[in-house]
Structure formats: structure tokens, C-alpha cells
Symmetry: C2
Subunit: 320 residues, 2 copies
């Protein structure tokens, strides 16, 4: 895809270090440590693409806003690593392991603040409202996820609130501010937000599915890691009502085990598979992709529109 081309990504990388300014040298060091460990830069790409979609090309002010969204994402990853006590991130030792929890928390705070600061210079109050609301909901989602660990009675509503917080609201916000940068109408901004929210939900559903069906090498962590951590995700959630009381009790026990037996994990996985949990998840993800694509009808036709459509579809076609 052109919007994910090497040139676009290279420009994003340049701007990521350019706008990461601090008088305190080691903030740059830590910031760059995590920024350099890569990632797909989907968030800045979404900002830049929605803006281009409406203006034909990007202006200089689009870039600080695009990278601000990546800073927000990075800040949340840094705090997430502390919350999870993670050892690795993108194949490298996680920042908390290298620099300590204290430094990692504060660098995250710095990146949040720097992002909002960039918005106050290059953005406007409406964007800030949307973005700060997204950050609120991100932390709410993560808190809810913590709270629901080991809880087999989690409601679908809460599961989706967690998904929104983990990925979707920030995706939505990227599309919203990109449209705002492109001087889109209020309706277009909302459509863009819904597109981002929907592809974010699809993205995370597929992530939750891959956690069951992929392999350790591709995942970079053991299969069924969510289950091991006591997290009930959609593949399991979608078949809970089809389980016998006995099966349910078994799953409950496994969710609460600190170090669950591999055979137990496989038994739950087989239950989910045999009840159709994998297909249900894929169908749900595709529904969100369709919703996302429909929202694009509110934008003028262009090569970028086609690419945003492809991006949405690509999400459910990621390798299994």
C-alpha cells in the first residue's frame, strides 16, 4: 500500500525524533529506545492519510500531530509494560527492564504531556477534546481489563469496552484529527472516528483470535497467552453459553490458575474450537471491517480512499 510505503514511513521516523524534544538528555535516550524498536506506525499513517484524503497532500503541521499520536501510543506502551511487569517488547528487553519502573513511568508521562503540548501548538481545541477523551478511555479500558482478569462472567459490553480502550479509541482519534487537519466537516470527522474505531476493534479481535490459533514463533509469546493470564477474550466469550456447567467450571478453574497446565490450556482451546469460537470471532471482525468501509462513503473518492478500504480489509487477512 502506498500509504505504508517506505518513503512515508521514513518521513514519519524523521519527525518522530524531531518533535521529541527535551532539555533532559536521557529522556531522548529512553524515548528513542522505545521509538526505535519499531512498530507499524499505523497511527501516524491514519492521521496523514485522512488529511491527504481531503487536501490532496500533507502540510507541515500534519506531521507534529501525526507523531503526537504515536507518542500517545508509546506512552501507553511504556505504562503498560510497567503494569504487566513485561520482560520484552517487540523482541527487545522492555523499557522497564532496562531503565526501571520509575524512569519508565515518568518517561511515559513526559510523552503524554509532549503529545498534548504539540496539539496545543499545531492542533485545536476540538482535536484536544477528542484526544483527551481517547486517553481517558484508554486508561479506563486497561483498568477494566485488570479488574476482569479471571472473571468468566465478564459481560460482552465490558469486553468491548476493554477492546476500545486497548486499540480502538486511539485509532478512532487518529482518523478524527486527520480529518480535522484536512478541514473535514463535523460529519466527516465523526465518520472518520467510527472508521478508526471499527478497524481498531477488528484489529484487536483478530489479535485475540491469533492468540489462540497462531504459533509461538509468530506471536513471540506462547499460544493462548491470554488464557494463561486469565483473560477471557472473544473466541471464548462467544461460546460460553454453549458450554455445559461442568465445562464452564473447568474453564473457570483454568482461568484462575497461576501457572496453568499445558494440557488444561489445550483442553479449553479445543472446547473453543469445537463450539465454533474461532469462526465467530472472524465473523465479528469482518462485521467491523464492513462497518468501517461503509463510513468511508462520506468521503470523496480518491486513491487514498481506496487505500483506507484496503487497510481495513487487510486487518482480517493478516496471516494466521
Amino acid at each position: 500500500m502506498k500509504i505504508l510505503s517506505r518513503e512515508v514511513l521514513k518521513e514519519i521516523e524523521n519527525k518522530l525524533s524531531y518533535y521529541m524534544d527535551s532539555e533532559v538528555e536521557f529522556i531522548l535516550k529512553i524515548g528513542n529506545y522505545i521509538l526505535e524498536s519499531g512498530g507499524k506506525r499505523l497511527r501516524p499513517v491514519l492521521v496523514l492519510t485522512f488529511s491527504k484524503l481531503l487536501k490532496g497532500e500533507n502540510e507541515e503541521r500534519d506531521f507534529p500531530i501525526a507523531v503526537a499520536m504515536e507518542y500517545l501510543h508509546t506512552a501507553s506502551l511504556l505504562h503498560d509494560d510497567v503494569v504487566d511487569g513485561a520482560d520484552k517488547r517487540r523482541g527487545k528487553p522492555s523499557a522497564n527492564r532496562v531503565f526501571g519502573n520509575d524512569t519508565t513511568v515518568l518517561t511515559g508521562d513526559y510523552m503524554y504531556a509532549n503529545a498534548l503540548y504539540l496539539f496545543s501548538i499545531y492542533g485545536d481545541i476540538d482535536m484536544i477534546k477528542n484526544v483527551s477523551d481517547a486517553v481517558k478511555r484508554m486508561s479506563e479500558g486497561q483498568l477494566l481489563e485488570l479488574k476482569k482478569i479471571g472473571d468468566i462472567d465478564i459481560k460482552e459490553e465490558d469486553y468491548f469496552k476493554i477492546l476500545e480502550g486497548k486499540t480502538a479509541v486511539l485509532f478512532g482519534s487518529c482518523c478524527y484529527v486527520g480529518t480535522a487537519l484536512g478541514d473535514g466537516t463535523q460529519e466527516q470527522k465523526i465518520s472518520a472516528y467510527n472508521y478508526g474505531l471499527s478497524i481498531g476493534l477488528a484489529f484487536q479481535l483478530i489479535d485475540d483470535l491469533l492468540d489462540y490459533v497462531s504459533n509461538e514463533k509468530k506471536l513471540g509469546k506462547p499460544v493462548c497467552n491470554d488464557l494463561r493470564e486469565g483473560k477471557v477474550t472473544y473466541p471464548l466469550l462467544s461460546v460460553l453459553n454453549d458450554l455445559t456447567e461442568e465445562e464452564k467450571e473447568f474453564v473457570k478453574k483454568v482461568l484462575r490458575e497461576i501457572n496453568p497446565d499445558k494440557e488444561h490450556i489445550n483442553k479449553v482451546k479445543d472446547m473453543v474450537k469445537s463450539k465454533g469460537g474461532f469462526e465467530k470471532t472472524l465473523i465479528k471482525a469482518k462485521e467491523f471491517v464492513n462497518t468501517a468501509v461503509k463510513e468511508l462513503e462520506n468521503f470523496p473518492d480518491s486513491e487514498y480512499l481506496k487505500e483506507l478500504e484496503d487497510l481495513a480489509k487487510y486487518i482480517v487477512e493478516r496471516e494466521f
Copy 2:
């Protein structure tokens, strides 16, 4: 002081819970746990007073902005407790001990985001620029403090950067946004900021002095706690050049001890005392108070102006 009267504080308490909204119930629970543990609410008072100083009275929109500043302060305390691995805060078990590091970090994030969200609704872009810059410098200051632990060669410039981050920039920002709410001129906003910055620096200098000269009961922690933690503060910093090489080596050793001997601590304290470090700190604090009072000349005379002058003076007259 009227600006610290029971009525004003009660109204602040009410608004603190009113604007702390979340669909996620336990965010309110944790938020209230820390908000209810009290504190002087100096930050909202500064916002409200500067606004009243110019408008005669507060409007409804002043309150969400005033409490947003307290949320920012609370968020930074929450993260600070995780960073320090604190056990207590204001006499109660600290949030990290009660709810865990993970929940504490994320609730802090929520409070930061909620504060900025309130600014996007009730404030304006200029306030957000000032406030997000303050939050940047807060995390920079705290990071710098971590980095300089055990470092006897800390520069005065870095020490003051730490002080600014710990207290002063947020005080400054409170006065800035209060003046903005009162439709003050750009010059008045800058004067207000400098007033807040200066009283914040004076406040923290006195804190650093009290750490040497107060007693365990009043401090709620052992005397010379900073020294025990390897922190070089102004009383020591101001006399470093007057120490012999041998004395300096001794201080260096004590700063790096994990569990310093009480006698060693007392020896350093005596050095600081005999070289006049306590007086020097008090003089420095008074200089900042004078600077602060001078900034008030840019405001119309009123009962509130007098109270802001008293507030500045009160800071160095806190009980020793």
C-alpha cells in the same frame, strides 16, 4: 486567610468529586481514596484567587479548571508513589500499597487525561499550552531528580530544574490559568505565572530546609530523609564549596550508602549547619518570596491581592 476559608475549601471538595466522572466505578473509588486524603488544595485556591482578583468573583467555569489542576497534582502524586515505592501518603497507606502499582499508574493516567479533557471544554488552547508544558517539565524534573541521586556534583541549575518540576511549574500554571479565566492581559498571565513559580520554589526550599531542621513527628518521616535517600538539596548544596576535600569525600560516601548510619547523617547535618547552609536556604527562599510579591504589582489592588501577598509570606513562616 479568606482565600483558604472553610467555605472556599468546601466548595473545592464538592467540585473535586463532581468533575471526577467515569463509567468505570472503581476509578471513582481509587480517585476518591487519594482525593479524600486531603492536602491543602493550594492549587485550586491559586486558580480561583487569580480569577477572582480580576473578575471580583468566580464564575462556574472557574471550578472545573481549578479542580483539573488538583487532578494533575493528584496524578503526579500517584505516579510518584509508584516511582518511590512509597508506603504512606498523608498518613494513609499509599495508593500503590492498597491498589497495586498497575492500578495506581493507570488511575494516574486517567486523572491526567480527565484534567486535559476539562481544559478542552472549559479552558482554551493557550491554557492547554501552558499546562501541558508544565506537565512536561514536571516529569522532566522528577526524572532529573532520580538521575541525580547520590550525585554530589549536581549543578545548582539542575537542582532548581528539579524544584521547578516538583512544585513550582504547576503552581505557576495555576496562577496563569486563573489569570486567563479572569481575562487578564498576556503580561498579567506571565506575572501570575512567575508569582506561582517563585512561591513554588520558596515552598520547596523551605520543605528541603524542614527536612533538615524539623522533627520526625512533624515531618511524618525521619529527619534528613533526603540525605538518607541520597538527595543533595539546597542546604547542603549551598555549602559544598566551603567543605574540605576530606569532608566532601565523607558526604559523598554517606549519600551513596543504602542504609546510612544515624551518626553519619548527623555529622553531615552538623557540617551543613556550621557552614551556614540553613540560613542560606532561608535567605534564598525569602528572595523568591520577594520576587513573587513584586510580580503582584501588575495587578489591581484588592483584598485578594493582599491575600496573595500574605500567602507568599506565609510560605517562609511555616513552623520550623
